[in-house]
Each structure stands twice: as C-alpha cells, then as structure tokens.
C-alpha cells in the first residue's frame, strides 16, 4: 500500500525522504491505516491511565484537581460536540432553505431570504396570492419581465436546470479536489470505524468542512437524496475533532470510539429533532460496543445538539424538523389492515432498492462507469432536474413534499391534495372534519403523486452512492409518504362512498386521516431499507409528537422488516459494507455451522509453515528478513523451533519501530545481535555483539483456543472481545493462527458468498 510509510525494506534509515514523509516519530501503540485496533489493549491502557491518575491524585491538591478535570473531560467533550453539531445543522438547514429557492427566483429586498422568508411581512390577504409578494421574483420576471406564459415557463425551466447543474458540479469538484472521503452517506464506514477499523482522514477537519459545504449544495440541487446520513458523518467528525483536544481520548482509540458513538447520536438527533431516537439509532445501527456510560453521555450530547438547533430556530416556528405534525385524530382498528399493507409495500421496496442499488454500485466499482464520477453526477442531476420540474410534487424539495404529505388538511389548505368538496354551511372546528368527497384537485394530485412515486423509486437507485454526500432517509420517507398518502386517500374515499358497509359504519366523524397513512408509509419504507426497529418507531413518534400512533407505526415497521428479511438479511448499510469488503464482524449474524477451529486456522495443509519468532535464538537480521519477506501483522513467539511452546505474540509494527529505534539509539546493536524476549539475556559467547531486549513489546497473554474449539465459540470470542487474531494450540504446542479476516472469509464461505471479497485485514 502506498501509505505504508514505514517501509519494511528500508530498515537502515536510508532515504531521507522517508523521514519527512513520516509523521513526527509515532510512538509504539498507534495503528496503521486500514487496520483493526486491539480493543483489549486499548482497554487495559485506559485502565492503567486511570489508575495512575487516581493514585497520583492523593499526592497534592493540584493532582486532585487534575483527576477531577480528567473525569469531567468526557462531559465537556459531549457538550462541545452537541454545540458544534447543532450549529452546523442549523447552518445547513438555513443554507438549504435559501439555496433551494434560489433555483426558482430571488428576493430583491434582501438576497439572503428564501421565498417564505421574503414574503414574511407581506400584506397580501387574499388567499390565492398568499405565496406571492412583490419582493420575490422568479427568474423569468427578473430577466424578461414576464411571469406567465410559455416563454416564462421555459425560461424558468432552463434556469432551474442550470442552477441544479452548477450546484452539483461545484459539489463534486470540491469533493474531488479537497476531501474524497466526503462522498457517500458515511454510515457504513462509521459502522466499520466504530467496530475497530482505522480509516485515517475519514473523520478529519477537511472532510468535515467539505461535507458540510457540499451537503448544502447537493440537497439544494434537487437530487433525490437526504442529509441525515451525512449529518451523522459530520457529527462524528466533530466528535473526532474535539476528542483530539483531550489526551484521554486522542491517545486511546477505544475511548475515542465511545465519543464517536455519542456524536452519532447527536447527529441523528439534529437531523430529525429526535434525541431519544438518535441515541437508539446509535445503539442499534451504528455502534459496536455501547457501554451504559456511553448511553447517558450520548443522551446528553443529543439533547445539547437538539437544544442548540432549536435556539438557532431555522424553521421559524421553534420546531426542529420541517415535517413536525401535531394532529391527534384517532385511528380505527380496522385501519390496521391498510397499515400492514403499507408495511408489506415498504418491505418489498426495501428489498428492491437494496438489490438494485448494490448492483449499480458494483457496476460503478468494476466497470468503466466508475472512471467518470463528475460526468455521472452531472448526467444524473440533469435527468433529475428535467423530469422533476414539470411535476409540482417533485419540483419542490423533498422535505417540503414530505411535510405536505404528512400534514392533514386543515380548514384552509391551498394544495391540490386538499381540494375536497366542502360543505359551505359546515361549522365544525378544524380538527373534526368528516369525510368529504374528493374534488377534481385530489384526482389530479393522485396521478401526479403516482408519477412522482415511480420517478423517485427509480432515480434514488442511481443517486445513492455517487461521489457526493448522499443520504437515503429522506428519499425513502418520501417514497413511503407518497404511497401512504395515496392509500390513505383511497381508503378515505372508499369510506365516504360506501359508508353503509359494516366496517365503515362508524368512520364518519372524525374520518380517515390520510396524513397518518403517509407517516406509516414513510416508516415502513425506511424500515424496509435500513432494517431499523426500535429506533425507527421512536424517531417517527418523536416526529409526530403523539403517542397515539405508536401501534400503527410499529405494525408497519414490524411487517416491513419481516417481509424484507424474507428476501435478504442485510440492510442497506450492511450491504454496502459487504460491497466494500470492510472487515466488519456483524453482531446480528448468527453462526450456526459445526466447523472447528482447526478447519479455519492458518496454515492449512499445503501452505508454508507458520512464521514464528523464537524467544532467544534469532538475530536482528533474521527478524528483519522475516518481516521483509512476509506481510503478516504479527508473529507468535515460541520457546524454540523444536518445542513450539507459546510465549506470546509480537506485532509487526512494533517490531519494526523497536528495531529501528534500537539501531539509532542503542550502542552496539548490529545485524548480528541476538534478539531476546525473556527477562534475562541468554548465555552468549564472549565477543558477540550487544543483544537486543524486546520484552516490552511482547504481548504475554495472547488469546488461544484449542484446535477442537467449535467455530461458533471462536466467532463469539472475536465478536465480544474485539480480537484481531487468535492462536490455536494443541497440548500447549502452537498449531496455527486465526485472524479476523479468516473468520470473515469462513463466514462468507459458509454463507456461499465470495470469500475473496473480504479485502482488508
């Protein structure tokens, strides 16, 4: 790999270029890029650090204060993460609001206002003109002074496409030039990072900046993607940034991942305005190890983030999310049947989306399509803009569409969806509107929604996974909301026209709320794609603010998960993890085969024997040759080549660093020096060079299993302890080694997948 700066072949310090490219002397204990951390060692290092601080705290007042600061640093980090994540989310929301409207027109009095903000103080009282005000002008009005007519329409259409293309092109160029890691959703990679993988730069400052800036651009360009997944990535970047300010977290990869789990919770919390849902999402979807302490701190971070966002108040009404609904009309028991139908639809759509999207991403990965990322983004944006503009439901931003679909028709709604035939003598309060026959506008809206649904289903498959920040919560919810609303209107009209049927007899007042069907549909589709369970229901009911709808939401979520699981066990994020070959050992996978450790361990029959180090009979030169010729991450240390009794395990990186260190610093260490791992140096003849003691880098307690241990137990050990490798012994003698990669390959083989797709160590 190109990033392997400490090249094994360059051991003698030759090539001064290396010194510059090397980071300022990495200490023993840091990890290389694209490698897995050693959870047990990180935990024991943290325990040591904590014990040292506790013992020193009794010495003086200053040390005591330092120990208090150390204990409180966790909470300070959470507070900072919440503040920054909330601020960034507010900035993103405000900027998206403005830039989305920029495609259609501009506010002349103050160019930074979106359409709604511009007309905030308008005095138009007539109902038809409520969206118009003299300060806001469409582009056609501004350029050619016409607001109606074919030429105005075409000009607006053309400018809409131009703006969308320029936003998308700018976004993909920024990603390509400054931070290539800012593309995609981020959640699959964050899941892998939280399970112990290292991807350097993925949570860096440039990635944070570029992801925030380009997220606004791509959401404003009208592409069929959302900002929730990228917001989780942004929040984790904030978490990484703040944890690097405190040595408690910057030096310990295990503790840092606790902070990142909490940051992910804060990210979802600001995306949906759902702090509890955010914590549960972090627990269920993103995190790997989630101790109870992290639960409380995640909640704190999520609350601070939600509070910060609320203070910035991006939507002008003290709500956190654009589609917060507040109605409380009850639902009927028999409505569970259409809800379950919506659940089935959600499951089916989830399966379809995952299969098609993975196939398309695989094609992008392996064929020439992947060589033209910028062109791909431009083409998809152009297609999206061209098809989206004529249909009023796709022309506006997806969040606004969902908001309109979720909202029930009040007394005075202007949208076509609410064009019911009203009884003018009616004097009911707004919440209690009975079923009404649909007017012409509703029928128009239905077929427009159907077209929009088909379009969104198809275009999202090609959009998710492009080289721009893209999330898929909002498009899934949009698909579900559209389907749900159509079903809701259908049920409502059925109930109205046939209210003499038995089931509809009591449904007159209050009637069916199509908005609720939209919500249930959104939950079903989101559950079908991501396979979230509890966190989905909690997020949805935090969005609605009412506990009445928990049962329909749960029915739909459970149904969609069952239907989707019948076709494939993986959600979209796990599918992307498999596509990329990340070494992610999923806790949800069950291993039920009857293989033994001896079937999986290396070396197999016919392979070269295990490369081991002896405890005191190898020279420095032998070890260097061994390191150069192989690329294993570590070597077991045995007593001698004859009796292969295990002493411990030595990591490759630490061996390299220790030898390099010794050659530069210690006198007398040459290629012929004996390297020993015991406490006392071995017996040496008189004029042999100074031996090199490397006991401090030896792990004296490597995990071992016997060769007859069932693989079920071995997989469990790997999962629960976060091991990277495990040694196999028989009657105390070393037989072989099982690494995490071997385990993953074995599991893939057992599940009839391609074992060669596991790429990283």
């Amino acid at each position: 790999t190109g990033t392997n700066m400490v090249n094994a072949g360059d051991m003698n310090g030759s090539g001064n270029l290396m010194d510059f490219l090397d980071e300022p002397f990495p200490d023993v204990g840091t990890y290389e890029d694209f490698h897995t951390i050693d959870w047990l060692r990180e935990k024991s290092r943290d325990t040591d650090r904590h014990r040292k601080i506790t013992s020193k705290s009794k010495e003086s007042i200053w040390e005591f204060i330092k120990s208090l600061l150390d204990a409180w640093s966790g909470w300070v980090v959470m507070l900072l993460i919440g503040l920054l994540a909330g601020t960034l989310a507010g900035v993103i929301d405000l900027a998206v609001d403005w830039m989305t409207d920029l495609k259609e027109g501009v506010c002349l009095s103050a160019f930074w206002y979106s359409h709604e903000q511009c007309c905030w103080t308008s005095n138009e009282t007539t109902f038809d003109d409520r969206d118009k005000c003299p300060q806001w002008q469409k582009w056609s009005e501004l350029l050619v002074n016409q607001s109606e007519g074919a030429s105005a329409y075409i000009l607006n259409y053309f400018l809409y496409i131009m703006w969308a293309l320029s936003f998308a092109f700018l976004a993909v160029s920024l990603v390509r030039v400054f931070a290539p890691y800012a593309c995609g959703s981020g959640i699959p990679e964050i899941k892998t990072i939280l399970s112990g993988f290292i991807i350097r730069g993925y949570l860096g400052k440039w990635t944070l900046l570029i992801k925030t800036v380009t997220l606004v651009l791509v959401v404003s360009s009208g592409l069929s993607l959302g900002k929730e997944g990228p917001l989780v990535h942004v929040a984790c970047c904030c978490g990484n940034f703040f944890s690097s300010l405190f040595s408690k977290y910057s030096k310990n990869e295990g503790k840092r991942r606790e902070v990142l789990s909490a940051a992910a919770a804060a990210g979802v919390s600001v995306a949906f305005g759902a702090p509890i849902g955010g914590v549960l999402f972090s627990l269920e979807e993103v995190s790997y190890y989630f101790p109870l302490k992290t639960l409380w701190r995640s909640f704190f971070a999520a609350l601070v983030a939600a509070f910060t966002l609320r203070s910035i108040n991006p939507f002008g009404n003290s709500r956190l999310v654009l589609f917060y609904v507040e109605y409380h009309t009850p639902w009927y028991m028999a409505e569970l049947f259409p809800f379950i139908l919506l659940g089935v639809f959600g499951g089916l759509w989830g399966t379809l989306f995952i299969r098609c999207n993975i196939a398309w991403c695989r094609r992008r990965k392996t064929t020439r399509l992947g060589k033209y990322p910028v062109l791909e983004v431009i083409v998809v944006t152009a297609i999206t803009a061209i098809i989206a503009y004529p249909n009023p439901y796709t022309r506006r931003s997806t969040s606004e569409l969902i908001s309109e679909l979720f909202n029930d028709c009040g007394a005075l709604e202007s949208s076509q969806l609410c064009d019911y035939i009203n009884d003018p003598n009616m004097t009911r309060p707004v919440d209690d509107i009975p079923d009404r026959p649909a007017g012409f506008g509703v029928y128009t809206a239905m077929w427009q929604l159907a077209l929009a649904l088909i379009f969104k289903i198809i275009i999202t498959i090609f959009t998710f996974g492009m080289k721009i920040p893209s999330g898929l919560f909002i498009p899934s919810m949009a698909v579900g909301a559209m389907a749900g609303r159509m079903v809701g209107i259908g049920v409502e009209q059925l109930a109205y026209h046939h209210h003499d049927w038995i089931i509809f007899r009591n449904w007159c007042r209050p009637g069916v709320t199509p908005g609720l069907y939209a919500m249930v549909g959104a939950a079903a589709c989101l559950g079908g794609v991501t396979r979230m369970t509890v966190s989905l229901v909690v997020i949805m009911f935090e969005l609605t603010g009412g506990l009445e709808y928990i049962v329909p939401l749960m029915a739909a979520a459970v149904t969609s998960k069952w239907v989707a699981d019948a076709f494939g066990k993986e959600g979209i994020y796990e599918a992307h993890i498999h596509l990329n070959g990340y070494p992610f050992l999923d806790v949800k996978d069950e291993f039920t085969h009857r293989t033994l450790a001896t079937d999986v361990m290396r070396p197999r029959r016919g392979e070269p024997p295990l490369s081991v180090l002896t405890q005191d009979s190898m020279t420095v030169e032998d070890v260097e040759t061994l390191i150069k010729e192989t690329d294993y991450n570590g070597f077991p240390v045995v007593v001698s080549k004859d009796s292969e009794r295990l002493i411990g395990f030595a990591q490759r990186r630490e061996l390299i660093l220790a030898i390099k260190n010794a050659r530069q610093r210690q006198d007398g260490v040459v290629s012929n020096s004996i390297m020993y791992f015991t406490e006392d140096p071995p017996e040496l003849p008189a004029n042999s060079p100074h031996p090199l003691k490397l006991r401090r880098i030896l792990n004296l307690s490597p995990f071992t299993v016997t060769d007859h241990t069932p693989m079920e137990t071995v997989v469990d050990i790997f999962r629960k302890l976060g091991l990277r490798q495990c040694l196999v012994t028989r009657s105390g003698r070393l037989l072989g080694i099982i690494t995490k990669k071997d385990v993953l390959r074995h599991m893939a083989q057992m599940a009839n997948q391609d074992p060669e797709s596991i790429m990283f160590n």
Partner: protein, 191 residues
C-alpha cells in the same frame, strides 16, 4: 496545510460558536415576530390570511383580523373558525449564516481554482520543465497535487517558517491524493 486546516477548523468552529451565541442573544427585529391568522370562507366572504406584527399574548383573532369583514354578531362565529399561529424568526441569524456560508464557499472555490489551474502554471514557469522529477506512480498523473513528491524532496534543505507551511501543505496534498486514489481510482473505499 494539515496544520492550516486545523487552524481553519478551529477558527471556523470558534466563529460558528460565537456567531451562534451572538445570534441567539441578538436584538429582535420588530418585524421578526408575527401572528398569522388563517380564516376559512364564511358565508359569502372568501378565505383570508391576516398577518400582523404583534406579541404572543395578542395573537388571536380579535387583535389581528382588521378590518373585521363580518358584522358584530357574526364575529364570534367567524373567529371560532380562524386559526391563529404565532411565528418568530431571526432575520439576523439568517443573514449572518447565509453570508458566512457564501464566503466560505467562495474561498473554497477560489482555492480550488488556484490549486487546479494557477499553481501548476506557476510551478512550471518557476522551475522549468527539466527539473520536474516525477516519481513512478505519478507519471501521467494529471490530477491536482501531482507534483507533491518533488516539492517535498526539494524543500527539505531549507527549514524556516514559510517552508514549514509549504511542507505541511504538501503533506496534506499527498494525503488527499492517496484518498483520491482509494476512492476514485481503485474503488477500494466508499464505492
């Protein structure tokens, strides 16, 4: 540039936090609060929307709907069907946020243009074609930061502040180049 990016990040986040604190506690514009009453059609009066800049306690039909379109005895029935909502916004927040965002976007755009177009031309003019040392991997590499290796090799002899900055910037460029190779060329990560 990694250190510079760190500084930028710190500066940006400090700016954001300061901005947030300032915005939240900033003075409220008179026009930033309003009460919006939506009154549906009543008898032969069409539907209307009324906006008025009043405080929350005055946000009801009687204070906002002016002039009242219905005569005295009908006022109560009319007002019962009206829905009044209090809305608040902060125009200062919006203005500052959009302007900060546009300036950051503009700066990034300028820097991107500089890196991709201006810098190679400048380097070629300063150092001449003959001195460009291309490492094996970069032959034919037309992407940004293609000359990071040789600049690193040349700059190691002088060690003052300016060169430290340039050295950090070149190291950042190398990192980004590696990332770009993983993501765009080899499709190893994030495909």
């Amino acid at each position: 540039m990694a250190g510079g990016a760190g500084l930028c990040g710190l500066l940006g986040s400090a700016l954001a936090l300061a901005g947030f604190v300032g915005l939240v506690t900033g003075a409220k514009n008179f026009e930033d609060v309003r009460c919006k009453c939506i009154c549906p059609p009543y008898k032969d009066h069409p539907g209307n929307i009324y906006n008025k800049n009043v405080s929350q306690k005055d946000c009801d039909c009687l204070h906002v709907v002016e002039p009242m379109p219905v005569p005295g005895p009908d006022v109560e029935a009319y007002c019962l069907r009206c829905e009044c909502k209090y809305e608040e916004r902060s125009s200062v927040t919006i203005k500052v946020t959009i302007i900060i965002y546009l300036s950051i976007l503009g700066l990034l755009l300028l820097y991107m243009v500089y890196l991709t177009l201006v810098e190679p031309i400048l380097k070629r003019r300063l150092f001449g074609h003959s001195q460009l040392i291309q490492s094996d991997e970069d032959i034919g590499d037309h992407q940004p930061f293609a000359n990071a290796h040789d600049v690193l090799a040349r700059s190691r002899s002088r060690a003052n502040v300016l060169n430290k900055v340039e050295y950090a910037q070149q190291r950042w460029k190398l990192q980004v180049q590696e990332q770009r190779k993983s993501v765009f060329d080899r499709h190893v990560v994030l495909s």
